[in-house]
Amino acid sequence: MLGTLVRKEITETILDMRFWVVTVLFLILIPLGMYVSRKDYERRLANYQQEHQMYRQHYGKDVGPDVEAQGFRPPSMLSIFALGLDPFMPDKAITSRSGLVRAAKEPGINNPESLLFGKADYLFNVSFIVSLAALIFTFNRISGERERGTLRLMISGSIRRGEILLAKIVGNYIVLLVPFVIAFLAALIILNTSSAISVWSSGLWFALLVIILITLLFILAMVSLGICVSALTHGSMASIMMLFLVWIMGVLGIPKISPMIAEAVYPIESRNVVDLAARIAREDIEGEFNKKREELFEKCCTEFGTTWEDIAVEPRTDAEKQAYAKYDREVLALDSECQKRVANAIRKLEQDYRNRRNIQASLAVNLSRISPVSCYTYLISGLAGTGPAEPDKFTENAERYQEQVKAAIYDNWVVKTYRMGEPRPNIRVRQTEGFDQSKASVPDMRYEYTTIGEALRAGWIDILLLFVFNILFFAVAFWRFNKYDVR
């Protein structure tokens, strides 16, 4: 009997005009969106390669003591599916001798119009258009049949109401999947024609499989939600209004409003303030140490019976040479302490800021999880390497790169700073033994994106929630439908 019911739902939907409208919409939008995202990815990849190559040419060899090695972040291949945070992520990490690493973004001439409006990637298409299509397919399945009077006839047969409900969900789900799967396959073919991407490469097909499974789960949740809306209302008119309310709140309202609420509940200051505070902290500490250096130098000079005002850049007398040598030895400790303190102070500020930012972000994320669309967005953007966890991932990569560069270059140059009465530091550098400047090269940053395993581990709660939403919507629909007045 269930089979008959499902068949009835399928034929009914296919004969309806909305099926054809949705099919056309899907067939145009999903492949087109994939095409423009692919082009965008190719452009970003080319930019990355060009920049990387240019940097190689400059610093491929002959690395001096004052180089600040830069590591470049390649674009994530899966960002074709969800652009997410990618346009806002830094492009490169700039390491430094002091142990601090900065993130920088090339101020490329990008098209500013894209900031005004949204995006057109796969994630957008599914979470906006497919979800709306799912709701449009289902919003009057029960209330509409009541209006036409067919529901009464069906109920009078020996069919349980649960079966009718299940058949409605399954039938509509299958019918919705047909245009979606066709459009998705067309999109994959478009993706595969690119020279930069191969769908069958080892990493990609598995990710694709995960993405499509999650998408199927999400669409099922939206179909159940539509049936649920239909069971909650008695006329098509009311159903449409409910659909409107649910879609606006679920797709647009909740995800948008939750970061705003989080910001209001747990405010943090902006990045600029932290940067300025860091700058002031650095100036303070460096000023303090400059004074200490001068004192040390004075001390060394008086010890060997010479006055520091007399000393020129090059020591001339024996006393001066001795004073110099002593200063040389003792200033190293001061220098390293100064660097350490600056780095610590800034790191502390940064860490503190990052902690507070993380609290705010997790508050916002959890609030927005009331909507299945947010769960889906987190999952897909997380898988694509453009999700909310990615900024931290970048910091992690950058710090690892800093260590790598430190071992390869910074540790091989000993830099000493002399201060002789005048504020301009006199810097001298020396190489460690066995280090050949002409052969040394800046190492490449090996950027590691979030792996699928990590993304799934971080997103298990979202997957669970998607299941819960499915069950919840079905349960509510079932509960309401059992008491539904079919007259």
Partner: protein, 488 residues
């Protein structure tokens, strides 16, 4: 009779469920959004003040020439319409990737969002069954049977329906504006209120546009079920698809080379110039060798006394002494220096011209691309409205440009001031160096002034005109169709 039609349409809508839902939704979302955004505005204002104060503190403690131009960056205050519309992040802000990333994943909710998404959908839901629905319920037949022209019926439907639709919107906006007015943190002057009035007028144009779209589709359909489907389809197309696709399409139509490519070309030009200069130098040295012979080889042994490159001080001193002692040597040295300058200068000038041209070229191309995207997006009323609303309230791309311009103006004021300060300091204190302290307490302060309303209005009127045009087109289409509508 027209009045009766209007009243009937109005009452019909108001007594309907959708009016209640629309009203509740509008009031709750608008007011909640204005309260939250006002809160944000207060924060941003505090943040801005903090930034300005920190900068002041920095300058009063550490202002030396080395850090001056880095530190004196005019700070942009939060837009005064921030409690209503969230501005586009400028270049400074987009760098801060580790601020809260969620607003990027889900663009936040503001007045623009309420008008463009919620109100437009609501408008469609109010009008999709205005004609088809009445036909189905049979009342349209009765109305037509009366001695009233179809034009009047259609017009009455438009006026009555739009009025009932605008009530929730205006009401919600009024409550929100009252909150803004009572909030002590937000000080709006006359021009801000004028802008708000214009913004409201533009919003009404936009909302009636979608009401008319629904009316038109309704006139084209026989029953309300097809009408709502077509409406939603058109809505997706106009609001979501076209504006989102336009930047990409224009990027495909009008390609610009990447910055990296330009940098590479610039580097090539520089390298070629350096090579050319080296070659010319060699030629010059040869020429002088043949002309002056021994005298020049002596000069050469002093590494040209620092004329060509930086050399050790002793060589420079030697050359200077030699020149002071021997007038012939001095004449040769000067001739060499002059001729060298003459051969080098044109090469560097050409280089500067070429690189400038390169950058100008890419900038014009990028501007052309942006313009193309902007014009392409004009097919969608959504884009037109966004331009009008943003440019009117100083929260759009135009305001970012305007801020850049005021920054340049300030630089013109500020650079001579610093120059004079440095000169004075050097005069008074001979030991003044690049990192000596400089007292800048009487520096000209940067004050951000809003762009004049007249300029803004000139900018937005064409787009507003397109919105009005859409209104007219939809009404005419609905009219043409309704005249021949089969009311049975």
């Amino acid at each position: 009779m027209l009045k009766t039609i209007i009243t009937s349409e109005f009452l019909n809508n108001i007594l309907n469920l959708r009016f209640i839902i629309g009203l509740v939704l509008c009031v709750i979302i608008t007011v909640a959004c204005i309260i939250i955004l006002s809160h944000d505005y207060r924060q941003e204002l505090a943040d801005y003040n903090l930034r300005v104060n920190l900068q002041d503190e920095f300058l009063s403690n550490y202002s030396h020439r080395g850090s001056l131009f880095l530190m004196i960056r005019p700070q942009k205050p939060p837009e005064r319409f921030r409690p209503l519309i969230i501005g586009i992040p400028g270049k400074e802000n987009s760098k801060s990737f580790d601020d809260n990333p969620l607003p990027i994943l889900f663009p936040p909710l503001d007045f623009l969002f309420i008008v463009t998404i919620i109100m437009s959908l609501l408008a469609i839901l109010f009008s999709y069954d205005a004609i088809a629905g009445e036909r189905q319920s049979g009342t349209l037949r009765l109305v037509i049977a009366n001695s009233i022209s179809r034009t009047k019926i259609l017009f009455g439907k438009f006026v009555g329906g739009a009025a009932s639709l605008l009530i929730p919107f205006i009401l919600a906006l009024l409550v929100g504006v009252l909150y803004i007015n009572l909030n002590p943190n937000i000080q709006w002057d006359g021009s801000a209120w004028a802008e708000l009035a214009l913004l409201t007028a533009a919003s009404i144009t936009f909302i009636t546009l979608f009401y008319l779209l629904g009316l038109m589709v309704s006139a084209f359909s026989r029953c309300s079920a097809t009408s709502i489907l077509n409406c939603l389809f058109l809505w997706i197309l106009l609001i979501l698809v076209i504006p989102n696709m336009c930047p990409y399409i224009s990027a495909q139509l009008n390609r610009i080379p990447s910055i990296k490519e330009i940098e590479r070309q610039e580097e090539e030009i520089t390298r070629a110039c350096i090579e050319l200069v080296g070659q010319r130098e060699k030629e010059l040295v040869k020429k002088f060798e043949s002309n002056y012979g021994k005298l020049f080889s002596e000069f050469e042994s002093m590494e040209f006394g620092g004329v060509l490159d930086d050399v050790e001080p002793k060589n420079r001193e030697a050359a200077q002494q030699r020149a002071a002692a021997d007038p012939e040597f001095k004449a040769m040295m000067n001739a060499f220096r002059d001729e060298l300058k003459q051969t080098k200068a044109p090469i560097w000038r050409i280089k500067a011209e070429q690189t400038n041209k390169l950058w100008e070229n890419i900038e014009t191309k990028a501007a052309a691309q942006t313009k193309l995207a902007k014009n392409l997006a004009c097919i969608s009323p959504f884009a037109n409205f966004v331009y009008v609303a943003r440019d009117l309230t100083g929260t759009g791309l135009g305001s970012l440009d305007y801020f850049e311009r005021t920054k340049v103006e300030y630089g013109k004021l500020y650079a001579p001031y610093v120059g004079k300060k440095v000169q004075d300091a050097e005069k008074n204190d001979p030991t003044f160096t690049w990192d000596s302290f400089l007292d800048l307490s009487d520096r000209p302060r940067f004050v951000f002034k809003e762009e004049a309303l007249k300029d803004k209005l000139g900018e937005v009127l064409p787009y507003w005109g397109i919105l009005v045009l859409f209104n007219v087109v939809f009404f005419v289409a609905a009219f043409a169709r309704f005249m021949r509508y089969d009311v049975r």
